[in-house]
Amino acid sequence: MAAEFWVVVEHWRNQVSEITYEALALGREVADQLGVPLRAVLLGHNVKEMAQSLGKADSLIYVDHPLLSEVVPETDAEALVQLVKERKPRGVIVPLTNVSLGVGTLLAARLRLPVANFCKDLKVVDGKVHAKSVLYGGKMESMVTADAEPAIFGLWPGARKAESGRIDQSPPVEEVAVSLREPPIRLQRYIEPEAGDVDISQQEVLVAVGRGIQGRENLELAETLAKDLGGAVCGSRPVIDQGWMPLSRQVGKSGLTVKPKLYLAMGISGAPEHTEGMKDSALIVAVNTDPHAPIFNIAHYGIVADVLEVLPALNEAIASKKGVDRHAA
């Protein structure tokens, strides 16, 4: 058993994902607490230069293979299977994002290893890694351990600040070969979101609507607010799923990450899949009828009320502050 701790590097469309740096920051702490080296594992094709920012790791295991140019869960998992089988690290952090979902579970299944999902934190207690996993959409947390090693940790975004995991320095690179078969799955093409729409990631003010908006009809309330504040409307996944807004307006795991000066979360519960896309906003104000909605844990200001009552009142208040007469014919 190699006494080392691993972090799988996630990259997509030629960019190392933010979560990789978060994972490296966390992995660094765990490796230090365990007293073992931290290794980053980079699977890809012609991406060696990505090593440049991965210096938080003590070394980089780099696997270059054409079949790894896009993430296909079973192919990436197969590469990891071979590496893990060979080296048997103490543990492996695998990001849990749209890009990498499934890789961790397949790796664990193939080697009959434990996997703990939804990890928000890891720490070492008496030489063993303890994971804090978030369950039930953020309503509960559990402290868990694995019965065997290597243990796979499916990491959720936000465990650490990305800045603490990123360093302008390449670790020593070790190139390793794996043998991969052509998978029965092939990425044909990417479909970009509708062009010509607002780029919400560039907005300073966002009015985000969730299920609480109840219907496409009520969007105009949010649009009025956004207009008066000089921003744009965006939404959580349920609103986009219903077709009330285009995909380009989606914030969260399957949408965009935004960091506006003001994020107004209207009728959004604050499940992790959404908050990961906006938690770094400078000022977060949330309105929700549920006083226990997880959104209030990350919001700076909260209002327990029905969005459909607050929006008109807020529009009115802003209008009078700005001297706008909305009822003028």
Binding site: N98, H130, D241, L256, V304
Partner: protein, 261 residues
Amino acid sequence: MNILVALRMVPDVVEELEVAPDKKWLDLEFVRMVLSESDDHALEEALLIKERQGGKVTVLALDAPELDDALFAALAKGADRAMKITGAEKGVMTREAAHILARVISNEPGLLPADLILSGTQAYDDLDGLVAPLLADELGLPFLGIVTNLQADLSVGKARAVKEYPGGVRGEFEVALPAVFGIQAAEKPPRYVPVAKVRAVMKSQKIESVPAPAMEEVGLSMIQVLEMMKPQVSGHAVMLEGPPQQVSNGLCGILAERGLL
């Protein structure tokens, strides 16, 4: 076209969740169970495919409180066969549940060969694994998750699956069938089924009961829960109180102070 849909009941978070006295799991006394949301989407996607191309949809799930309602609703929506797996140990987590599902799928007559095996991409209690990749691994089938659109062409033995990526980007994949898909969202929101139809189905159709296979290996999960607790919030919002007009004025004041108004 033979489609299998694996469903799971999960705790309903509309109810206030409490920790059990032993602090290791939920207090199950007041917990109500509900069909995992993305499993509902998986069922809807299966039904849409059946409506477009014909075929048979079988739903299966491990027995749980309120499961029968969900299975009858599935039948009323258009599923052809509903199977309940009984006798599994209580409190089994996802990893073991997926193993039981895989064994039943392999051994029960009429389930395999299947063209598509669907499940929700992820449930919020999938602590020790995700159902779709676990099924895929055990059944030796390809897997793709976070799928929002699925078109199967049996004549060439392939499916076109659209997967969601960050930033509203989607990826179109070609997948050899049979395969396992983790559905994120169906092409349309899950349909409503009139209660009268469900009640009629309760009288005219049966849920098949299949005993869970004896577990030849124990401790599949390999994850131990030391403690479960409500989130310790490092911070909490400053709450503005009062009727809508009052909080709105208050909020305007705050925004003005910060130069946002």
